[in-house]
């Protein structure tokens, strides 16, 4: 069982560890740092591997933890950031092995920051193995085959980024706890309310299929070949969600949904992606002038179709009804469009499970972020109804309502017919 209060404690543990680690980097290197996004992700081994497979050379250390909590801690600097750190420690010495020893030393001190933070929060002792220096561009350089869960299982992964003010400094930390160890920690907690891990896994598998269906539909409607780039469930503090969305202006469509569960659904398109979408669907070029009313309608209605697809999939699997509002549109800074949704949830909860999906075009620069943020207690109630044996057979189908003043369902049905999409 996933005790939500315990997850809250783990989140505080991740944040405390990151702050201590950042605090130890700064005096050593004189690089002014701050803690970036800290998250608990429910994710799969292949997803973590894909993230590390970005052709950027990374160096750092890998450490095994035992006793109070068991798992693998991975601290990675991008190559340029590693050089920057090393340069502050080994001025006038550019030997490769000096860089290596400087990075290893800094990583080790930062790791002890994380571990001390966790031990404080958990009030336990944690043993740390001798660090192994890692260096490479492919995931195999950092991870063993059995470090994180296989494709059909979700692993809980603690993630933190530490950023430097005013530079492109990149440091990532992953902690991949052993599942038995995490379960033992959950058992130590007195129960608040809780979610069954297997049901979250089942729900995630269904959500993944839903996301693939959305990508397929979008491909058919736009002619832009789309793929699911990221799929994950994050457990985050509500106030941290704005840090996780792009700061640039986003073309955004929001829905609230009611039923089991209730919550909010948000589609964020970069300006370039929204323009491409409009051009592909209604043939209107924006020429840098921003979206016309017709363009806005098109973005709203496509989002509406996608929202229906996602939520109907959820409702079918959970055997409930989930209604959603007509879409509302905003073109504003990413954090500003997330802000009203977290304000809406914050009276009743401190943390949220965020179902985060990124669709990416295969060969053009088009991407779309979809955030579904259910009400926490509703999610718990909804998952109680979930029959995990039913996941593979559930249909994901779309029904939709048109926005006021936008194209109506018949219009879209027509678009669907022309594009060969089953709406």
């Amino acid at each position: 069982m996933l005790d939500v209060e315990a997850l809250g404690t783990f989140y505080e543990m991740a944040r405390e560890g990151a702050e201590l680690a950042a605090g130890r980097l700064t005096p050593m290197t004189d690089i002014q740092t701050r803690v970036g996004v800290t998250r608990l992700d429910f994710t799969t081994g292949p997803a973590i591997r894909a993230e590390l497979d970005d052709d950027v050379r990374k160096v750092g250390i890998r450490v095994e933890l035992s006793e109070g909590v068991e798992g693998t801690s991975l601290l990675l600097f991008d190559e340029d950031s590693a050089r920057e750190v090393a340069a502050t420690l080994t001025a006038d010495m550019d030997e490769e092995n000096l860089t290596q020893s400087a990075v290893a030393e800094v990583s080790q001190i930062m790791n002890s920051g994380f571990v001390d933070g966790w031990a404080d929060v958990l009030q336990t002792e944690i043993d740390v193995s001798t660090p192994e220096y890692v260096d490479g561009t492919s995931p195999d350089a950092f991870l063993d085959a059995d470090d994180v869960a296989p494709a059909d299982e979700l692993a809980l992964v603690f993630r933190s980024q530490i950023e430097a003010v005013g530079t492109e400094f990149a440091f990532k930390h992953y902690f991949m706890p052993e599942r038995d160890s995490i379960e033992a920690l959950f058992e130590r907690r007195t129960a608040g309310y809780s979610l069954e891990y297997e049901k979250l896994v089942g729900f995630d598998r269904m959500a993944h299929r839903g996301a693939e269906t959305v990508a397929e539909n979008l491909t058919k409607m736009t002619g832009i070949d789309m793929d699911v780039d990221i799929r994950r469930i994050n457990f985050v503090s509500l106030d941290a969600i704005p840090e996780d969305v792009p700061a640039e202006p986003q073309v955004s469509v929001a829905f609230s949904f009611d039923g089991l569960p209730s919550g909010y659904l948000l589609f964020l398109f970069s300006e370039r992606s929204a323009n491409q979408l409009v051009e592909a669907t209604v043939g209107e070029s924006t020429d840098g002038e921003g979206l016309s009313a017709m363009g806005q309608d098109a973005v709203q209605e496509l989002s509406n179709i996608m929202a229906s697809g996602l939520l109907d999939g959820w409702a079918n699997l959970l055997d409930t009804t989930i209604d959603h509002t007509t879409p509302t549109f905003a073109h504003d800074m990413g954090p500003a469009v997330v802000d009203p949704l977290i304000v809406g949830l914050s009276e009743g909860q401190e943390f949220a499970f965020v179902f985060d999906t990124r669709l990416k075009a295969v060969d053009t620069e088009f991407d779309l972020d979809i955030y579904a943020i259910p009400n926490e207690t509703d999610l718990e109630a909804a998952l109680e109804r979930l029959d995990v044996t039913n996941v593979e057979s559930v249909q994901v189908q779309a029904e939709f309502t048109a926005a006021q003043g936008g194209p109506n369902s018949d219009d879209l049905q027509e678009i669907g017919d022309i594009e060969g999409v089953d709406l």
Partner: protein, 169 residues
Amino acid sequence: MKTFASGSDDTAGPERLLVGVSNYVVGTGEQTLVAYGLGACVSVVLYDEAAGVGGVTHAMLPRQPASGGAPGKYVDAAVESLLREMVGTGAGFGDVEATIVGGATIFELQNLAAGAGARNVEAARDQLDSLEVPVVAEAVGGDVGRTVELDVATGRVTVSTADGETEAL
């Protein structure tokens, strides 16, 4: 050099300090305090020109419940805590002036607490009134997100929006 994360920080030096959601930050010297992407959230900027001490809040909800909770999350508690910390850093209680920014309605959604932004603005005005801090400027309401910056050295408050408009208050 010091680390800054999300809470209060009084580090000296030419720095931009981010004021995250549910936080407030006191600044001195050459610091610039920035609250990004305010939607329904409200920032209250407090500044004492003579002391060269300023501060910015970034709160989500209007009033702290009797059961408590992180002060930075609530407009009323954040303003009071920020003022207290500024006085502790050298500001004069009677010398502080305020600017209120945010409280917009970005989306009209049925389930979204109607008027959340307006209630945050109202809570800010009420709290500043009860603390006898004069409000010298406001950029509130409407349907646009805002980013607010306070240059502590000069006291200049600027508000920018997604369409590239920047306004000095």
